[in-house]
């Protein structure tokens, strides 16, 4: 079981309020991702849940029990750190067994669990090595192994993939998702990478300056961002945000259109512009079009290969069903 409830939890460092009081419920078995730009308080929030930082106010409940002043060792949570934080003086076997040793588990049981974890994570051949002799991806697996052996109430991941190279990151992302599907244990995952958030989460919590901007499933956030911040943060490439007269035509201060929701035509359309730089990814092509009356270049996604060249004149038309409208405060107009 691993249902975590935050009730008006806040954190200040001296005079500086890093996290104003917030409420959040994480259901048992959910994969929740905290996402936001650096300095938004996502890591601090995770550390509050872990117990590595003391809350300034509010209450943290784990499975209904007040855990606010319970030390991290007794919360029954496991954490995977960005730096892996393996014990450099212990072999992989001892690293993974450490939480079991702390729980005073019998040697036989320790051995059984370490072997099982090593098998799942493809670490069987490396059990007698030291962390220093492993690659980044293997170290990350050891860190995960150390987290899973104890069968915790929930896993906490603090940007676990940011030290890995791009190719490895995609692989580990899948492995962690696979692990979640297999274990069905609550996972809280902190990242600044919205792609990780979109691909892995059951529920995304978007944070900015310690505030929760929006909570929802990846598709909810994609389809109906609550405000301009979420609209600009979720989705890759970014949503096009257009203000001024063009927005006024739609009775809004700002309108947002995702690159995939713009139709391109050589003859007519809502926006007239000139093709700038294009990015060909094979399956998709992104064009950056400078439109009349729009400050920033508009990004357009076109499937496959399209015969458009630098300097060509085009017309763009937003799909009315996927047009996002925001008022003067940046909030979504329903």
């Amino acid at each position: 079981m691993g249902r975590i409830t935050l009730d008006k939890v806040g954190k200040s460092f001296g005079e500086v309020e890093v996290i104003p009081p917030l409420d959040l419920t994480i259901e048992d078995g959910e994969f929740v991702v905290f996402v936001g730009p650096s300095g938004c308080g996502k890591s601090t929030l995770l550390r509050l849940i872990a117990g590595l930082e003391d809350v300034t106010g509010g209450e943290i409940r784990i499975d209904g029990k007040d855990a606010t002043s319970v030390p991290p060792a007794k919360r029954g949570l496991a954490m995977v750190f960005q730096s892996y934080a393996l014990y450099p003086h212990m072999s992989v076997r001892k690293n993974i067994a450490f939480p079991l040793r702390m729980a005073k588990m019998s040697a036989a049981e320790q051995d059984r669990r370490v072997k099982a974890a090593a098998e799942v994570l493809n670490l069987t051949d490396y059990l007698d090595r030291r962390p220093g002799q492993l690659s980044g991806g293997q170290r990350q697996r050891v860190a995960i192994g150390r987290a899973i052996v104890r069968e915790p109430a929930a896993f906490l991941f603090d940007e676990p993939l940011s030290n890995l190279d791009a190719a490895l990151r995609v692989g580990m992302r899948l492995e962690i998702s696979e692990l979640h599907n297999r274990l069905k244990t609550t996972m809280i995952y902190v990242t600044h990478d919205q792609v990780e958030a979109m691909t892995m989460a059951d529920k995304i919590v978007v944070l900015r300056a310690g505030h929760i901007e929006q909570v929802g499933s990846p598709l909810e956030l994609y389809r109906a961002p609550r405000n301009l911040f979420v609209a600009g943060f979720i989705g890759s490439p970014k949503m096009n945000l257009i203000g001024a007269e063009i927005a006024a035509r739609h009775d809004a201060t700002t309108i947002g259109i995702r690159p995939e929701h713009l139709a391109v035509s050589g003859e007519s359309g809502a926006l007239h512009g000139r093709v700038g730089v294009s990015e060909h990814l094979g399956s998709d092509t992104f064009f950056h079009v400078t439109c009349d009356g729009v400050a920033d270049p508009v990004t357009v996604r076109v499937g496959g290969e399209v015969d458009l060249h630098y300097g060509d004149t085009v017309w763009l038309t937003p799909d009315p069903d996927h047009l996002h409208r925001f008022d003067h405060e940046g909030l979504r107009i329903a």
Binding site: A50, P72, A73, P99, M102
Partner: protein
């Protein structure tokens, strides 16, 4: 990018380093040499370098006159004991300063170090009184305690600088893995800090071994370590240079050998962790 160093410059640096090294080593070398001379040869003018009759006579006399082993044993107990006690006290102190610093941690560290700037003789009287009061004069336990306290600031400082190099993530990982404070220090911090602790131990054994002010002032016979052994041969009158040298050589030999084999750790210790 590697800096190109000219051969001439390398030779010059090597020569200067050797010159300084020899200059520093010379007193020790001269002491050892003198210990193998007769008393008359020891004060010969001009000084004799090799052309003298090598003799072991001084060592025999010194050993006959005073029991080297008893002094040695006292030195071992006092240096070892004070270092061990010091480490025991300093590890938790340095842990708290390195990992849960408060606003005043820096001040406390400086204040601790400032006690080392005090002339020892300034507190001789109060310490002597305490020793008399508690019957600690000329006891090994009394001397061990005093020397431990004298060196404690250095031990805490050294451990503090070593601990600061340990990523706090790893200690937090231990906490998440269910380790309490005791387990965290015992199973994670201490093993990771072993190189640092080793150089701290070495340096403090040497400091305690060489400590002369307190050992000479607070002991008479039973607890007297090797420093007192040497001092007993230093006489304002009479020809005792060769015997004094023999006693000195015997007293410094163990620490010289220890230092020789642990040069690397010592350099790290002396630079307070600045060299990685």
């Amino acid at each position: 990018m590697a800096r190109a160093v000219s051969t001439r410059r390398k030779i010059a640096t090597t020569a200067v380093a050797w010159a300084i090294g020899l200059l520093i080593f010379f007193p020790i070398y001269w002491t050892i040499l003198t210990s193998f001379k007769t008393e008359a040869q020891a004060i010969n003018n001009p000084p004799l370098f090799f052309n003298f009759d090598w003799t072991l006579e001084n060592y025999t006399i010194v050993q006959e006159r005073s029991d080297y082993m008893r002094f040695l044993w006292n030195s071992v107990i006092i240096a070892g004991g004070s270092t061990f006690l010091g480490i025991l006290v300093a590890v938790p102190a340095a842990w708290s300063m390195a990992f849960v610093p408060s606003r005043r941690t820096k001040d406390i560290l400086l204040w601790m170090l400032s006690t080392k700037m005090l002339p020892a003789v300034g507190v001789l009287y109060p310490i002597s009184l305490i020793f008399v009061q508690f019957n600690l004069l000329d006891t090994r336990i009394g001397l061990t305690l005093v020397i431990m306290l004298i060196n404690l600031p250095i031990i805490v400082w050294m451990l503090y600088t070593y601990f600061r190099e340990i990523p706090v993530d790893i200690l937090e990982a231990a906490r998440m893995d269910g380790a309490g404070l005791r387990e965290e220090i015992l199973y994670v911090l201490t093993p990771m800090a072993i190189p640092g602790i080793a150089s701290t131990v070495l340096l403090n054994v040497i400091l305690a071994w060489n400590e002369a002010f307190w050992t000479l002032n607070l002991t008479a016979a039973t607890a007297a370590p090797l420093t007192a052994f040497i001092a007993s041969y230093s006489s304002p009158e009479g020809l005792f240079y060769a015997k004094l040298s023999a006693a000195s050589t015997m007293a410094i030999a163990p620490i010289l050998i220890l230092g020789w084999f642990s040069q690397k750790q010592l350099v790290r210790g002396l630079t307070f962790g600045a060299v990685k």
